[in-house]
């Protein structure tokens, strides 16, 4: 099983996780910029974090054979803090970077006027920088938040085919299915979604525009729940090809719209390690 986790916060995870993920078949990930648990108090704190997403974390993932990409944004929660809002001025510089495959996570936390403003401004940046957008739906008052998110997407003029609405569940999926946006589900050990409920949604709504992620972060979460969902799909009668559609081809198709996905095997991993200049027999020692 090859797995592309389209939403995982590796900054908060250990190298043990990277090793387990590679062993489970994870070869590519997207790490959306989000909040860090501890609130930030300055723009500099954001830029150091952004630098990590396109620098250290990408390097760290590569050491374990995993292609790391990210999305950049001012998250909805911190859009309410005036000390953080000026990060929107430096964001365009980061949206030009390699490996930045969307604007996100944007959207709503408490649905305040400040969140409206940041959401709208960042959807406009996605259009301007020709990037897709990743929209986080709120934990509280979720149905209303999802509807308001879809309204904001519609009025921004961005193509719904370039938008993910994330953290969906049984009660929010239908509105998004109808909108033309992509539907993403975070599989958690005990909140959000679980593998069996996910399989039921896939049965009801089909595989098109469907994304499954672990959204693993600093809270109770598990980077391998993507794999567990694939296994649950097989147990429920879905084919290997169906699993590949949901866990690889769909995220590749969505984030491929950025033109900035890099999915070549990393040097030293996979088939590239056994070949030398296109020949199947190793003819020279590999420099380390």
């Amino acid at each position: 099983m090859r797995i592309f986790d389209p939403h995982i916060h590796m900054t908060s995870r250990t190298t043990d996780d990277y090793e387990r993920m590679y062993a489970a078949g994870v070869r590519a990930i997207v790490e959306p910029a989000f909040w860090l648990g501890q609130p930030r108090t300055t723009v500099g704190s954001f830029t150091d974090y952004f630098d990590g997403l396109i620098g250290w974390e990408r390097f760290r993932a590569a050491q374990f054979g995993i292609r790391h990409h990210c999305t950049m944004a001012l998250n909805p929660k911190e859009a309410n803090d005036p000390r953080c809002v000026d990060v929107l001025d430096v964001l365009p510089r980061y949206l030009a970077k390699d490996g930045v495959v969307a604007v996100g996570e944007i959207g709503y936390d408490s649905m305040t006027p400040a969140e409206d403003k940041a959401f709208e401004a960042q959807l406009a940046m996605a259009v301007e920088h020709d990037l897709p957008a990743l929209v986080h739906t709120p934990h509280r008052d979720k149905v209303t938040g999802t509807r308001r998110s879809l309204d904001a997407v519609a009025s921004s003029g961005i193509d719904p085919g370039r938008v993910i609405i994330d953290h969906l569940n049984e009660v929010t999926v239908d509105a998004v299915l109808e909108s033309g946006c992509w539907m993403a589900f975070s599989i958690y050990p005990d909140t959000k979604m679980d593998p069996d409920r996910m399989v039921a949604i896939l049965r009801r709504c089909g595989l098109e525009r469907m994304l499954v992620n672990s959204a693993a972060d600093w809270g109770r979460s598990d980077p391998l729940l993507t794999l567990r969902t694939g296994e649950a799909m097989l147990a429920a009668g879905f084919t290997e090809d169906d699993v590949d559609t949901v866990l690889w081809r769909n995220p590749v198709a969505f984030y491929g719209q950025s033109g900035r996905l890099v999915l070549d095997e990393l040097p030293g991993f996979g088939h590239a390690a056994e070949t030398f200049e296109g020949n199947s027999v190793l003819r020279g020692a590999r420099a380390q």
Binding site: G55, W56, R93, A96, D98, E277, G284
Partner: protein, 470 residues
């Protein structure tokens, strides 16, 4: 972006049927072909030539390919002697065979709507004096020109190393002798310019400028007439392409690799990637010279346009020692910044991702004298504080060798041993290595041994090598 139209020479697809070659070339995104008439590629002596010409014309049109006609087939006219006979052969009847062939080529070009017919002079038989040679060449070219004028076809004469006309100056002289005929122009092989011209490539392009009707692209090293893939010789491809854009060249620029047919599809794919990357660099450099701040969006985009692979995959598969193609591209962009743009450099690093930071570090030595040393050293020291092996390696290039204090430099070298960067990445290692560094490395080795671990071979070598400073 680039105004250039890239093509590929069918003589580099000698093991393909012509139709298959056109399909592969078109699918890779080339805009045209340089079609060498040969025994199995539109044989000009075939009985059913008109039908074959119609078929090729339809195929070119269907694939939206432009075409120039090349006439350098090796054994088309004489199965025993390569490239024989020629316009300067000794016997009149031999020269007539070549003239007849070239006039056929002109008629085929007219039928195909080709942009030109390209030809060369031929190797002068030993003992022939120069006046005789010019006479033979002038007569032959005039006879071909008559047909070209009649059918509205343009001729491009190619200087060919080792032949009677082997430099651009020879074509210029022939034109002067014939009264500067409108339809006699120049085919320029960019690799030949590297190998055999006295002027630099860009100057040759400028000289040929208004007369240029056909361009062949390949790499070479000075003094050696061997067609090489881009990057394997001494050609500065972005500079050559920039010169073609500067003179307003609108014709085909076709890759000329006649000895690479055995791997043609792969070579053609690599070639177009190299050409697109080089054209992007040339265009980006022009934009940066016009407006230095445009480097802020061009610098991050280099990998997307030029690729990210190691420069020397066999010796340095991870690109740690010699860097990557995007590193090299970014150094070119920095070179275009000049003095006015030096203030951009620190922010390119500050806001750069890992690859951009590496590009800045590898470009520091060419910014030396333009960028204040304290600023450059700040960036080197920042990189040496990271644990990213590729940043650490890039930081210890020639700039650090020239400017970094001895203590900081020693710790940089030791860090390489710690994180597994080959010491080949450290510029002027033997010159700057001193007794204190050897002591530090010996302690490091002792610590490794005490823990039951292996000592890197680079560390062993450094400890036993007593050359250099002390």
């Amino acid at each position: 972006m680039s105004a250039l139209r890239f093509g590929y020479g069918t003589n580099g697809f000698a093991n393909h049927r012509l139709g298959d070659a056109l399909a592969v070339i078109a699918d890779l995104g080339y805009a045209g072909v340089a079609l060498t008439l040969d025994h199995d590629h539109l044989d000009p002596f075939a009985d059913d030539l008109p039908r074959r010409v119609d078929a090729v014309r339809a195929e070119l049109a269907g694939r939206d390919l432009g075409v120039v006609i090349e006439t350098g087939a090796r054994y088309l006219l004489d199965p025993r002697r390569k490239h024989h006979p020629t316009l300067v052969s000794a016997a009149e009847e031999d020269r007539a065979v070549r003239v007849d062939f070239l006039r056929r080529a002109v008629r085929i070009a007219a039928e195909l709507g080709a942009e030109c017919v390209s030809f060369w002079s031929g190797v002068l038989p030993p003992g022939t004096d120069e006046a005789t040679a010019w006479q033979r060449l002038g007569d032959g070219v005039s006879a071909v020109l008559d047909e070209a004028v009649r059918l509205g076809v343009v001729l491009g004469m190619e200087p060919e190393p080792g032949m009677f006309v082997e430099r651009l100056s020879g074509v210029e002289e022939l034109r002067a002798r014939l009264g500067d005929p409108e339809r006699l122009r120049v085919t320029l092989d960019i690799g030949h310019c590297v190998a055999n011209e006295r002027d630099p490539v860009a100057e040759c392009v400028r000289r040929a400028g208004p007369l240029l009707v056909n361009v062949q692209l390949d790499d070479m090293v000075p003094g050696v007439h061997e067609h090489l893939e881009f990057g394997d010789g001494a050609l500065d491809l972005p500079d050559a392409l920039a010169a073609l854009v500067d003179v307003g060249y609108r014709g085909l620029a076709a890759v000329e690799l006649p000895r690479h047919s055995h791997a043609a599809p792969d070579v053609a794919a690599r070639s177009i990637a190299a050409l697109r990357g080089a054209a992007w660099i040339a265009d980006a450099q022009r934009r940066i010279r016009e407006k230095p701040s445009s480097i802020r969006t061009l610098f991050p985009a280099a990998g997307r346009h030029c690729g990210r692979g190691p420069l020397h995959p066999a010796a340095d598969p991870a690109g740690v020692v010699d860097g990557t193609t995007d590193d090299a591209a970014r150094v070119r962009l920095l070179a275009a910044l000049g003095r006015d743009g030096a203030s951009e450099v620190a922010n390119l690093y500050r806001y750069g991702d890992d690859a951009e930071k590496r590009g800045v570090l590898r470009g520091l030595s060419i910014m030396d004298g333009v960028l204040p040393v304290d600023i450059g050293l700040d960036l080197v020291r920042d990189a040496l504080r990271t644990n990213d092996t590729r940043l650490v390696a890039a930081a210890l290039g020639p700039y650090a060798a020239a400017h970094l204090d001895q203590h900081g430099w020693r710790h940089g070298v030791l860090k390489c041993l710690f994180v597994g960067v080959p010491l080949a990445a450290v510029a002027r290692l033997d010159e700057r290595a001193d007794a204190e560094l050897r002591r530090m490395v010996a302690d490091f080795a002792a610590e490794r041994r005490a823990a039951g671990r292996t000592v890197p071979a680079d560390a062993e070598r450094l400890m036993t090598d007593h050359g250099g400073g002390s």
